[in-house]
Symmetry: C2
Subunit: 354 residues, 2 copies
Amino acid sequence: MFGKTTKLLVAAALVTGMGTSAMAKKVYKWKLATTWGPTLSPFIDAPKNLAKIVEEMSDGRLIIRVDAANKHKSPLGVLDMVKGGQYEMAHTASYYWKGKDINLLPFTTMPFGMTAPEQYSWFYYGGGMELMEKAYKRHRILSYPGGNSGNQMGGWFRKEINSLDDLKGLKMRIPGFAGEVLAKLGVQVTNIAPGELYTALERGTIDSLEWVSPSMDIKMGFHKIAPYYYTGWHEPATELQYLVNQKALKKLPKDLQEILIIAMRVTAYDMYIQNYHMNATAWEEMKKEYPNIKVKTLPKSVMDAMKKANKELRAEMSEKSPELKEILNSQDAYLKRVRAWTEMSDYLYLKDNL
Amino acid sequence: MFGKTTKLLVAAALVTGMGTSAMAKKVYKWKLATTWGPTLSPFIDAPKNLAKIVEEMSDGRLIIRVDAANKHKSPLGVLDMVKGGQYEMAHTASYYWKGKDINLLPFTTMPFGMTAPEQYSWFYYGGGMELMEKAYKRHRILSYPGGNSGNQMGGWFRKEINSLDDLKGLKMRIPGFAGEVLAKLGVQVTNIAPGELYTALERGTIDSLEWVSPSMDIKMGFHKIAPYYYTGWHEPATELQYLVNQKALKKLPKDLQEILIIAMRVTAYDMYIQNYHMNATAWEEMKKEYPNIKVKTLPKSVMDAMKKANKELRAEMSEKSPELKEILNSQDAYLKRVRAWTEMSDYLYLKDNL
């Protein structure tokens, strides 16, 4: 026999037309804007996976619609859209905001900086998250790691680089801070739309270009026309970024807040691993099809000059912002400590196992 | 005015004595047994963090009690306890079960095998999870990655190793498969309880020992009495393991299953990063206190002999089990592909940035 309680519950369920477990269910509908196009794997996969696992973990109480750049038409407007509340979230990269706020530059990656595990250690255990929180507070936004590309390649070159002289007047597509470093060495840094890059490289309008790494370079086809693939120095661990509107997060019940935060954390790590896999697979494929691709490291004279230029640019920027200086100092101090461990663990292990 | 629905809901809530949102809340109480003691950080932190975030994400609907080894008294009995249902979960390491089932050996780490990001790539994107699922199915258990220690050090030695001759008769504490490899090279492999290791090394009962890495070695104090710290070869990426009773998992509602699976995944990644940080910090501290510690790599002749012995032992094991052979082949094929990427990305980057 059913007791009185059961009868009341059943009656209530009948009246509301829902099962008893769903009676109190309030659904939150969010929108997330990405900087990426709808097929830019693996970048776009992180927010898509986020939406999927958030829906599953919340039993449908938090639904996140992912709008790729072709939908909202403003790939580099996503910070403002989250700030203004048109979107509750975004998936993007912090270094895109250096023009708005120089203090947001170092939360993606820095030339000659930390590798992915080193940088995650800095974020989560070495004070990085606290510095990022502080930097984004004035934008009324919360920022979280959003997936790491791992070490990015230095780029595709039509000719070998043997000395500093070979850089003088070299026409290269390399945007952002890394471009500023190379400009100091006499490189003629240009910007060209992604869709025109292949033709520009093929026709010699540019001599070289930097894109990402095998996983994303393979679709661009640069390996078919430029045989030298230089190793990276400028983006050793590009961490993408989730942006969340502060007020929107606060309005969620505590359990949904936690579900969202954990989902951001796990999809970020996952994208790092997914891209590691994609790089390995794409590189194998490229090499098979074009066995003459040569992996090269820039000569020591060039490396040293780039390190010097990098240092000078950082000093200039730091002078303008004490907050930036604090962040860069934190990264430098952490790098020094953690690199000693990386050297005696993975580096020396790999040296004997290549 | 309240409608009829509201009145019924309120009535139901009054009768049951709960708020409307909690009316249908069923609480699942689980127990997790660890192989570790209650203070063995960072290993014990992974399941503790798991319990915490599962409780928060589920709004208290899934509560996991973590029992350390001092409570259940059976550190290496946790597989059987999960199989038998006394515990719904465990946190341990798969290579402990090689005596019960040789096919479970390779899911932790293998000598000269993959690094942590390489191995996570294999698990999640290279077929590793499917092979692990298959291997554990006959035990009616589900197994998930549970946190990576990163590259473990080769151990503390009182004297330098300059040749294969120096290994003959050397008394070393090194358990498991790595011990078998060294035994083939003439090392006198011994096992000594952890609590007696320091005295044994100090008095010369043993000449060397393998423990973990700076984060966990520092408390043992070996650096005070053995100046040579050899780099690792035997456990390049020790992945701990969550075990879950199949039936217990199926009894959870779908959303709680997903919460648990995501919580395992994120706490595993997190432990890898936490230990990376702890290693960097502990190594800095050790070096400061004992600046004479020398980090050494075993000479090439020794490395080559170990690689040969390792290959022979793997071939012997594989002959006894076609399933083991399948798993090892999958790892070998993946390693070959992924290592090419590791070399041209992180390895060559680090080479120029040490």
